[in-house]
């Protein structure tokens, strides 16, 4: 399967970066096609809340920045792995910047789904999502649970679901096996 890894670590030489490289290799060893996007290098301009992606250039951010690469990688993938250190109890501002610019992937029209108001899908299919978190020394189990709860909702708004959350203290071999199982 096609796996997109969105790397939300802005530190270039962290242990988490090394872990992601190892994990990518293990996924490739299992026959998957892996694209790892280092969000820090993509010059993401972030969302200014202009609604242009819905009403001016439907499906595309008006900023024409690296966020287009992120959106393409997501739609091309069967599984999108959101990888980030936890800082101040949540995934990085860098990953959030990418997430805010994922809104072009859905359509403005309102729909009711699971008893809640949501937006209509724009694409015929969306990848499963999973979280890979570097808890570091600061984050506790509750931070991981709360971060997961938020991303579970985000995945739902992006017309998919969060398959699971893994922490980078776990063996990369084990995580690669689990990722292979979910998709």
């Amino acid at each position: 399967m096609n796996i997109a890894i969105l790397n939300g670590d802005s530190e270039a030489a962290s242990p988490f970066q090394a872990y992601l490289l190892k994990l990518s290799q293990k996924l490739k060893d299992r026959g998957h096609t892996v694209i790892k996007l280092d969000l820090a290098t993509l010059n993401l301009k972030g969302c200014s809340g202009c609604w242009g992606c819905w009403v001016k250039t439907p499906g595309e951010c008006v900023k024409h920045d690296g966020s287009a690469t992120v959106r393409r990688a997501i739609i091309d993938s069967d599984l999108t792995l959101l990888a980030s250190p936890i800082t101040m109890g949540f995934t990085s501002a860098l990953l959030k910047r990418a997430a805010d610019q994922m809104v072009p992937l859905i359509h403005p029209y309102f729909v009711v789904e699971g008893g809640e108001i949501h937006h209509r899908a724009r694409y015929a299919r969306y990848p499963l999502m999973a979280l890979l978190l570097d808890a570091g020394e600061q984050a506790d189990a509750e931070d991981i649970e709360m971060t997961t709860a938020i991303w579970r909702r985000t995945a739902r708004n992006l017309k998919t679901r969060l398959a699971f959350t893994a922490v980078a203290s776990r063996d990369a071999e084990e995580v690669a096996n689990e990722l292979t199982l979910v998709a």
Binding site: S48, G49, P58, G59, D100, F110, M146
Partner: protein, 229 residues
Amino acid sequence: MNSLLLLNGSPRGERSNSIKMLERIAEGWRRKGGTVEALHLARRDQFARAVTAFAEAETVLLGMPLYTDAMPAVVKEYIEALMPRVAAAKAGLRNPTLGFLVQSGFPEARHSRPVVRYLEKLAARLGSRYAGTIVRGGGGALEWMPEQANKKLWQQLRVLGEQLARDGQFGAAELKAIAGRERLGPLTVMLATLACKLPLTQSMWNKMLKENGVWERRFDAPYGPAFRP
């Protein structure tokens, strides 16, 4: 005199729904004799000022729109810039009383609850007294309705501002009232499902699409097969 540091976390800055709501809370605060410093996090210079001002403030109110079920990226950047204040609190320094406003496009409060949990813990992480989080759905009403239509909301916000000034926290009953419905009831789900099928419900999007001359392209899907219901 009591001073309030009012932080607007909307990327839309001065033209945002968030600042409209925050200004009403500030009115309530001023009625109790306090002063207000308002800053937009989306403006780079003001962002920097907001970081230094946090350490000196007595009370901080951070407002934001819900963005993909969480805080907008600029708000997370700001929270990350407060990291030294966690260490400061551990070293026995005081951090300000912290309250929040989360307002969302969808009408139900339910969408905002996970991030509210996060914000409450953020206050604890900073060793700040938690004043509470004002949750309000249906941001479209602020955007597309005349000012008059939101009179009740403005009044509720002023009262919350007064409470913050007087008690250092928002009243539980007032928070509950302003949040409105946690989730849609079964009848509303039925009606909303029907309403979503009517062009009227989507008319504000259609109007903008037409004005911009891209109505025909509204279902464009640049990266893959488009959804067909």
